[in-house]
């Protein structure tokens, strides 16, 4: 059994930021990451980020990943494992993982789950045809492996991911025939939409995909218009020839192994689905287990980073270890997070977090 003060499951932006503040207090930290690279989804992001200087605004995602990693380079108390998958979480603070196909057991005094999110799927006829991929998959193919996803793409979903990936497809030289959005308006930032519109890509709101067409691979899709009640309007069916359909209909928090330790979860639609119930210190109903980033509510990378720094700090308090700047830094990062959530795009998150708070109070009572 390998002993650590803190184990962080997930080496994406949230996990890396949590490691930094935790390490500043002098504790031993282990980060376990299942991919062959650290940085989570940041490594595929070729666009410049929003936010403020503190969240590396105007820096391209892959550069932010490098920056977060280099921030950790000076700490000797840090072990980072990549290509290692956590397979078990136990109530006596044991984490088990497959590391180079060997089963290794770890014990920690605190655990942070920073495992991010997975892509939602959409139900329609023949949605299992090859040629239909999640938006993240398309990004991975293009930006990590340099492989073209297809000749022509239709993007389903006009949230930030759908809009950004459409732009990245155009940058890779792939034709985007249309972005279709079931709701009456575009979900993401309008600047992303304007960028796409001027490149000649039509954005079709109140439209959804009804059926995928093809024998062995996607050849075309049938789209229909929707009324205000999300019901198909008869007679609006259209067939678009396309070999690649990209589904970008949202993310849902990923934290399956929390159920192994009985951590309470609650369905909060605004946060993306089932989320672990946590208090203001990101502590789950299992005292030594904390969660941060998309795993505790779908937001942006900028929020994931701020939450990471905060959770690392909160863990030092839980472990009764002195962090030199605890009060100053928690106040600072809490203010940053509040500012990120202040505008109209933060409303959904604020509502979701209120519901989560009610869930925690209910669980504790």
């Amino acid at each position: 059994m390998i002993e650590k003060d803190l184990i962080i499951i997930g080496g994406g932006p949230s996990g890396l930021c949590a490691a930094k503040t935790a390490l500043e207090a002098g504790i031993s930290v282990l980060i376990i990451e299942r991919n062959e690279h650290f940085g989570g989804q940041l490594v595929k992001q070729t666009h410049k980020f929003f936010g403020s200087k503190e969240q590396y605004a105007k820096t391209r995602g892959y550069d932010i990943a490098q920056k977060l990693l280099s921030d950790l380079s000076d700490f000797s108390n840090l072990t980072m494992l990549k290509g290692a998958t956590v397979v078990g979480l136990y109530s006596d603070n044991v984490v088990t993982a497959l590391v180079e196909n060997k089963y290794i057991r770890y014990h920690a005094n605190a655990i942070i789950v920073a495992t991010g999110a997975s892509e939602k799927f959409l139900a329609f006829e023949n949605n299992d045809l090859p040629g239909i991929y999640g938006a993240g998959a398309i990004q991975t193919l293009m930006n990590l492996y340099g492989v073209l996803p297809g000749n022509q793409v239709v993007m389903v979903g006009s949230g930030n991911i759908g809009l950004i990936v459409s732009y990245q497809l155009l940058q890779a030289g792939v034709k985007v025939k249309a972005i279709i959005e079931a709701s009456t308006k575009i979900g993401g930032y309008k600047v992303h939409a304007s960028k796409i519109a001027r490149l000649g890509v039509p954005i079709l709101t109140s439209t959804t995909v009804k059926k995928a067409i093809g024998e062995t691979e996607l050849k075309a899709i049938e789209i229909v218009s929707l009324d205000e009640n999300w019901k198909e309007i008869q007679g609006t069916s259209k067939v678009i020839e396309v070999d690649t359909l990209c589904i970008s209909v949202g993310l849902t928090p990923m934290h399956q192994f929390l159920s192994m330790v009985g951590a309470q979860t609650k369905y909060v639609q605004e946060l993306g689905g089932f989320v672990p119930v946590v208090n203001e210190h990101h502590q789950t109903s299992v005292n030594s287990i904390f969660v941060c980033g998309d795993a505790v509510g779908i937001e942006e990378a900028s929020s994931a980073m701020m939450e990471g720094y905060l959770t690392g700090l909160y863990v030092t308090e839980f472990l009764n270890v002195k962090h030199p700047g605890y009060l100053k830094e928690t106040a600072y990062y809490e203010k940053q997070l509040s500012m990120l959530r202040d505008g109209p795009f933060g409303t959904k998150t604020r509502v979701g977090l209120e519901k989560l708070k009610e869930g925690y109070l209910h669980a504790k009572s």
Binding site: K48, G51, S52, K53, V191
Partner: protein, 160 residues
């Protein structure tokens, strides 16, 4: 329209343009029409001509007097929402961000495109700049007939 297809209305666009007599000098046109948490335009401007303030969700405002039209904000905006415009006689001169291949070259004639993605005129590439600070966002100086001052927004290659 902006909410349904990403195309701002004429009123929205005109609200960001100063009076034409001001544009004898190049000025930034800030087409950020939404409150989103973002402020690199403000922090990048060497003349303090873009104001957002402590709440970074606020839409940026331009201090017309302070703006020199240098174009640093154009390649700093993560949303590619800023262009620089200037009137020079019968021509409108723009500095726009560009992140696609193939890159334009000085002297080329490309399509001039409006916010809907339609071709509206010819656009002459006057200058291109791509330095490290711009981080892969090329700054393209392009001239179009001045009649398209409020319509033109980007360029498209004439070769498909």
């Amino acid at each position: 329209m902006l909410n349904r297809n990403g195309v701002p209305s004429n009123e929205q666009v005109l609200s960001r343009f100063p009076k034409s007599n001001i544009l004898v000098r190049p000025k930034a046109i800030l087409e950020c029409y939404e409150d989103i948490p973002c402020n690199p335009c403000e922090t990048s401007c060497p003349f303090g001509a873009i104001i957002i303030g402590p709440n970074i969700n606020t839409q940026p405002k331009l201090d017309i007097q302070a703006c020199t039209g240098c174009g640093i904000c154009v390649t700093s905006c993560p949303g590619l929402a800023i262009i620089v415009a200037q009137i020079k006689g019968h021509e409108a001169l723009f500095k726009i961000p560009y992140e696609l291949l193939p890159y334009p070259n000085k002297g080329d004639i490309w399509h001039g495109i409006n916010r809907k993605g339609d071709v509206i005129c010819d656009a002459k590439i006057e200058q291109t700049s791509l330095n490290k600070k711009q981080d892969h966002t090329m700054l393209v100086t392009v001239s179009v007939p001045v009649i398209h001052l409020h319509e033109f927004v980007t360029i498209r290659s004439k070769h498909e």
